[in-house]
């Protein structure tokens, strides 16, 4: 991934879930490199060089957030 590229998680609205692929296409045309389209959870993941705000206003999009990561301690920690 290039330096200013970020991973994003887009949630779609309940009513847009049946046409989630269309939402993904719209996001793609705004610059999102779509990675996964998940129709049961209503989530689209991908990467974006542009600003998150560039994806606002797309029909069917509920939220756009930078993707976060959960971390574990090293294996030899006894607090897991």
């Amino acid at each position: 991934m290039s330096t200013n590229e970020k991973s994003v998680i887009v949630t779609v609205t309940d009513e847009a879930i049946p046409r989630i692929q269309r939402v993904a296409d719209d996001l793609s045309s705004r610059g999102l490199k779509v990675d996964r389209v998940m129709p049961m959870t209503g989530v689209i993941s991908g990467s974006l060089s542009a600003e998150l705000s560039d994806l606002h206003g797309i029909d069917g999009v509920m939220s756009v957030e930078e993707e976060l990561s959960a971390d574990l301690p090293p294996a030899d920690n006894d607090l897991q």
């Binding site: 991973s7 998680i9 949630t11 990675d35 996964r36 998940m38 049961m40 959870t41 209503g42 989530v43 993941s45 509920m62 939220s63 957030e65 993707e67 976060l68 990561s69 959960a70 971390d71 574990l72 301690p73 090293p74 294996a75 006894d78 607090l79 897991q80």
Partner: protein, 459 residues
């Protein structure tokens, strides 16, 4: 406590029953107060107003039966019920009766197989809560805990009482871990058979002897990693707790809850020394679990921020609505007593069941996160599970079995027990959630720390 006298009447003498419904409450300490009147509880389906009036009239000679709403509208208090009267709470199917003769008449027919009466109880007097609700057991435990704190900080020895409490604490036996005992999973007749449980974590040691003849379904969601083989150990430990075998081939004590459940191993953590799990990979794992009909997903992972994040909250709501209960670790970010921490995402999603950790003395673990004050209802700890000195499987390369601590360990206890309940009652989604909460064992701990209490397995 006023003693009831059952005055003699032709009806009462003619049929001297062993009354199956206690009129004298079991009250060895003499602490319960009654009014001297009696409440007759009618069975569901037999509580029709006309039938009740009939029973009262025919059996007990009560012909002046007032409907409660009329009675109360007239401004009377139920303290005014005369001996030949009764007050019928029509919507509740219960009747308040004053006269002893009427009560004994009703008691004499109550045990008939076609009797419309479910129970007969004295009318108790409730009091305001100062001091009430604190059982002797809770107070003993509280005293022991305070004694211990005093001993630790004042440099003294624990008192005899405290030592006795410690001796009575649970411990791993030759047969079962303390956690299986505390949750009564070890005596459950249920195994999780027919229920699919997904554990989204670092994977599973596919060469582990305890899983050598267990069919597992596996998938990696991490880019560039094609096997769920567990390098780290966290996933193997959690899967062991949730679904480990009834009789481990390695010969150790039983450590797994749902030994008959179908295991779905989703690898969502990479193999870095400090493994990371991207949200998108976790959501993909949840999507996979849903698509495969998993009724339970165990997430022993969290992001250490005190905010709700939509990337978890929204998909988890959909999972729960679709019948997939997601159980998540509350977080290990506390350092009690000073820092009580906060429930992390994804556990802080409304639709995720957030699990705290207790130790074998059923105290909240020092690292176990408390309900957050800033993330609304989702940030609440919902339930607690065994999370200190938890014995379970780890990769062979890491010693095959080990003791771990963490809300990560409490979480798969709840996930496994959810599978037992799902098998026992056939429930899923919010119904399964309610079942777990309703059956949890209250611990006398703050609900902000332990939610509804310690998860319990169906028997």
């Amino acid at each position: 406590m006023p003693k009831r006298s059952i005055s003699s009447s032709p009806l009462a003498e003619a049929v001297i029953p062993e009354v199956p419904f206690s009129i004298e409450p079991a009250d060895p300490a003499g602490q319960l107060e009654t009014t001297g009147r009696t409440i007759i509880i009618f069975k569901e389906g037999a509580a029709d107003a006309a039938d009740v009036q009939n029973t009262l009239s025919e059996v007990a000679g009560l012909r002046h039966v007032a409907a409660a709403r009329d009675y109360l509208q007239e401004g009377a208090a139920t303290g005014d019920v005369a001996d030949d009267q009764a007050v019928h709470f029509t919507d509740l199917g219960i009747v308040l009766v004053s006269g002893d003769e009427a009560v004994s008449a009703l008691a004499s027919v109550a045990s008939d197989s076609d009797s419309p009466i479910q129970a007969i109880e004295p009318e108790y007097v409730a009091h305001l809560s100062a001091g009430a609700g604190l059982s002797a057991e809770f107070l003993r435990g509280y005293r022991a805990a305070v004694n211990n704190l005093y001993a630790e900080h004042a440099g003294g020895e624990p008192t005899e009482d405290a030592e006795a409490e410690i001796a009575a604490a649970l411990q791993d036996s030759a047969q079962f871990t303390w956690g299986l005992q505390a949750t009564r999973a070890h005596t459950s007749q249920f195994t999780g058979q027919g229920v699919r449980v997904a554990v989204l974590d670092t994977g599973l040691d596919l060469q582990h002897p305890d899983f050598s003849n267990r069919a597992v379904t596996t998938r990696s969601f991490v880019s560039g990693i094609t096997t769920v083989q567990d390098i780290h150990g966290h996933g193997t430990h959690c899967i062991g707790t949730a679904c480990g075998p009834q009789r481990p081939a390695s010969g150790v004590r039983r450590y797994g809850v749902a030994h008959g459940a179908q295991i779905f191993v989703g690898k969502v953590f990479n193999n870095n020394p400090r493994p990371g799990a991207a949200t998108g990979d976790v959501i993909a794992g949840i999507e996979w679990a849903m698509a495969n009909g998993c009724r339970v997903v165990s997430l022993s992972l969290g992001v250490a921020i005190n905010q709700q994040i939509l990337q978890y909250a929204v998909p988890l709501r959909r999972a729960l609505n679709a019948g997939t209960l997601v159980v998540a670790a509350a977080g290990n970010n506390a350092e009690r007593p000073g820092n009580v921490g906060f429930v992390e995402p994804p556990a802080n999603a409304d639709a995720a069941m957030a699990v705290a950790a207790v130790d074998s003395q059923l105290r909240i673990a020092a690292f176990s996160a408390r309900s957050s004050r800033v993330t609304g209802a989702g940030g609440r700890v919902n339930i607690a599970g065994p999370g200190v000195a938890v014995f379970s499987s780890v990769p062979v390369a890491r010693g095959t079995h080990a003791l771990f601590n963490g809300t990560s360990m409490a979480t798969p206890h709840v996930a496994g027990i959810a599978a037992l309940w799902a098998q026992a009652r056939g429930e899923a989604g919010t119904a399964l959630w309610s079942r777990l909460i309703q059956t949890a064992q209250p611990l006398g701990l703050l609900s902000a720390d332990a939610g509804a209490g310690l998860v319990q397995a169906p028997q």
